[in-house]
Amino acid sequence: MAEIIDLVLLAMLALTALRVIFLKDLFAVVMLFGIYSFLSALIFVNLDAVDVAFTEAAVGAGISTVLMLGTLALTGRKEKPSKHSSFLPLVVVFVTGAALIYGTLDMPPFGHPDNPVHEHVAPRYIEESPKEVGLPNMVTSVLASYRGFDTLGETVVVFSAAVGVIALLGVRRKEEGETPESGLKEHHVLRVVAKLLIPLVILFALYVQFHGDFGPGGGFQAGVIAAAAFILYALVYGLPHSFAVIGPRFLQILAPIGVLLYAGVGLFSMYKGGQFLDYNMLAEDPIAGQHYGIIIIELGVGITVFAVMLSIFYAFASQAERSNVQ
C-alpha cells in the first residue's frame, strides 16, 4: 500500500518537475514549486519522516514560495525565451544522472531493515535515546542532543541568511515611511478573519514549540509558524502596522539573541565542567539536564528562526512597497 502511494506521489512529482522545466510563466513556475514541495512533504510523511514533512511544508510550500512570489512582484513574471542552446546542460545532466544511476546499483535495497544504515549507528538512537535523553521523539533527541552541534550550526546558518538579506536589501525604517496606505483596507472579511486567526496561529506555534519533544515539531517549525502569523498580519494590515508591533530593529536584536541563548547553554555546560553542549551537566539528574538543555536550545532556535523569517519577509515586503510607491 505504502509503496503504491509512494509511487503515485513520485509520479506526480516527476510531472510537476517536467512542467517547471518547460513553463515560461514564472508565476506558474513558483506555484508549481510550491506544489512540488508540498508533494514531497507528503512523501516524507509516507516515509515516516513526520518532522521533515512538517518542516518541508512550512518552509518549501510556505516561506520559500512566499519569498519567490515577493521576488516576482519586483522582477516580473515572464521569462524571456533564451537563445543559447541547451545542449551542453543536457550533456552535463545526462552524465551526472548516469553516474548517479550507476551509483544506485550497489545501494542497499529500499526499505530493507537490515541495511547498514539501520545496523550501525541508528540502533543506539532508537533503543537508548528514550533512556539517555528521555524524549519519546527520537528525532528531537538526536537533533537537539546527540547532534546538537549540527543544530547550532543550522541556527547560525539561518542567522547568517538574515545577515545576508539585511545587508542586501536593508529594511526601510518605519519613521521614514509614508502614511500606511498599504495592506488590504477594503477586505473587511479578511481583516476580521485574520484578527480571529492570528492568536490561534501563535498559540499553535507555541504548542509546536514545546510539544516538539513528544510529537513532531520543535523550535524551527514553531518559529516559522509564528513568523507566518505576523506575515499574515503584515499582509492584511500593512507593513507600518506590523512594524509598530514588532520593528525590524527589534528583530535584528532578537535573531542574535536566539543564537546566543543556544550557545550559552553550551558555555554553561562547559562552565559546569562538561564538554560543549553537554546537557547532562545542567542538573544533578542527567535526564533532567537533558530536558532543560533541549527546551532552552529549542527556544533559542525558535526565537532565531522566527526573527529571521520575519525580518527576511520585512526586507522583501518593504522592497515591494518601495517599488509600489515609486
Binding site: 488590504l184 477594503e186 477586505h187 472579511v189 479578511l190 478573519v193 480571529l196 486567526l197 490561534l200
Partner: protein, 111 residues
C-alpha cells in the same frame, strides 16, 4: 462498530467525489468566477465530508479533537480565501460571463 465504518466510508467516498468534481470543474468551467465556485466546493463540502469520515474512524481521543480543530479552521479560512479571491478579482475589473455578454451587446448595438 461495523456501522460506524460503513458510514465513515460512505462519507469518505462522497467527499472524494465532491473533491474530484470540484477539480474537474476547476478545469472545465469557462471563466474565473465559476471556477472559484467549483474550487470552493472542494474545500467546503468535500473537506467536511472527509473529515467527518475520519472522525468516525477515530476512537474519540486527542486525534478527534485535532480533527475538529482542523475542520473549524477550514470552515473559517476556505470561505474567506474564496471571498478574498473573488473580491480582488472584482477590484481588478474582471467581469462575469453575463456582464461580458451585456457588454458585447452594447458594443454591437452602438457600433
Amino acid at each position: 462498530m461495523l456501522l460506524l465504518d460503513i458510514i465513515s466510508s460512505i462519507l469518505l467516498i462522497a467527499g472524494v467525489f465532491f473533491g474530484l468534481s470540484g477539480a474537474i470543474g476547476l478545469f472545465k468551467f469557462p471563466d474565473f468566477f465559476t471556477r472559484v465556485h467549483a474550487a470552493s466546493v472542494t474545500d467546503s463540502i468535500a473537506a467536511i465530508l472527509i473529515i467527518g469520515g475520519l472522525l468516525l474512524q477515530t476512537s474519540f481521543d486527542l486525534n478527534t479533537a485535532k480533527l475538529l480543530f482542523i475542520l473549524l479552521f477550514l470552515m473559517i479560512t476556505s470561505p474567506t480565501a474564496s471571498h478574498a479571491l473573488a473580491k480582488s478579482a472584482r477590484h481588478g475589473g474582471l467581469l462575469t460571463l453575463a456582464e461580458n455578454k451585456v457588454k458585447k451587446q452594447e458594443h454591437t448595438s452602438h457600433g
